[in-house]
Symmetry: C2
Subunit: 258 residues, 2 copies
């Protein structure tokens, strides 16, 4: 891949690994927008949040290259991959980071656990315009065709006009064919959480272990201005996300309590 | 440990592991406030962010118990530990989750990578009043004595009046003896990021690997209303933190761009 001065440079990653259908779809679409550098793990790194690999060394390997892209396998988390790419692998800072398409929604509180969105947040901290795309289906054979038109529209917009410092986008798609998607809406993060159901088992030695499973609970299922409502009702949801987690509205009350 | 009806129940965790000095200090202080359940890993889980263990089973073991506390070792991340405790180990929902005292600052963007603060955020998602404490020193033999008075004041306040839904506290201490600490201030998260310096090495087989290292850069070092400024200038910093990452101020501008 030869990067010309007027080429857009796009960094692609995900947290479902290099062989995930969502990543393949994203690469195919983004090839129309610029030269690509893809970095991901060979295995899934779901629910890794913005974890970093600090106690193990990181490995990275160029596994494929053609005229339009280079693809790297990385041993670390999605956030590690962005850091490695920006610092060691890219010719220059990218014009855009696109992460996904995740197999599963990252609406509501899921953003806090998401490796896909951690990659976007990591880009954001480097002041690179960044977006995470997620489909509301955990199926490994999910149909991503409904996402394409919207990924093209969002990418066109982001490459024309960068996002403000400290803000990235969390885009979630309903699991519907293109013809049934009602449009795209700007929403806020729904209030919700994952309620766990630990499955308790005995290993062959008779010792107890647990599998973490759970169900997402939306605390405000009727709120039509939220991301989870949008994808449950046939809309593409776009939430602008900030890396600043300060609860500004509670600062004065806290001052009076302390 | 026998939990009486009028006992406060406090869940304690950290991300530096069961043998960290910061955890021992926190346990000693919090024993004066109620009955304790402590859950942590036997090894450090730093920089794990809000990662969850979904591809491996979780193990948990009661390793110590006396009249005032039970201590569990958990194989997972800090967020796993909170989920396991709330769902499987506690007699009832705790009155308070206290995480730390972390060996190292979690001011500014460090909150995004922090296992200590992930535990507090996890508690917050369960609507449990939660706080993370961190000292601005990475030393394993750090002096935590300056923290004590403020941990007592904050815990008294939190047990008297719970935090609003969706808000927890990120408390950072300067690495100073008590006599040199100037007081406690409510601040906001400073804008900053970690700039990496990957150390590239060859393994015995001649293959390249990287160690992730880096330095924190405060993008607004003069802003005296921020957490990083406070701890650099001798104050205890208290940031109210929200689990809602929506960038509300950018929603209208985004609507006009899409």
């Amino acid at each position: 891949m030869k990067l010309e001065a007027n080429d857009k440079l796009i960094l692609i990653t995900n947290d479902d690994g290099l062989y995930a259908g969502g990543l393949k779809t994203l690469i195919r679409i983004m090839e129309d927008f610029g030269k690509l550098v893809v970095i991901s793990a060979t295995e899934s790194r779901s629910a890794m949040s913005q974890a970093l690999t600090v106690k193990q060394p990181l490995r990275v390997k160029l596994i494929d290259e053609d005229d339009r892209k280079r693809i790297y396998a990385c041993s670390g988390t999605p956030a590690d991959g962005i850091k490695l790419a920006v610092n060691q692998l890219l010719e220059r800072m990218p014009d855009l980071i696109a992460s996904g398409i995740n197999h599963g929604s990252n609406a509501s509180a899921s953003i806090l656990y998401s490796g896909t969105m951690a990659a976007a947040l990591e880009g954001c901290l480097y002041n690179i315009t960044s977006v995470g795309f997620s489909l509301n289906s955990y199926s490994s054979s999910a149909d991503f065709s409904g996402c394409e038109e919207y990924i093209r529209r969002i990418s066109t917009m982001l490459l024309r006009e960068p996002l403000p410092t400290g803000i990235c986008l969390n885009v979630n798609f309903p699991a519907l064919p293109a013809s049934q998607i009602k449009g795209m809406v700007v929403t806020r993060q729904a209030s919700g959480n994952w309620q766990e159901e630990f499955e308790k088992r005995k290993d062959p030695a008779g010792k107890t272990y647990y599998w973490l499973t759970g169900n997402f609970i939306n605390h405000e299922p009727e709120a039509s201005d939220t991301d989870d409502w949008a994808i449950q009702n046939g809309y593409v949801s776009v939430v602008p996300v900030t890396t600043d987690m300060t609860a500004y509205g509670f600062m004065n009350a806290l001052k009076s309590r302390l």
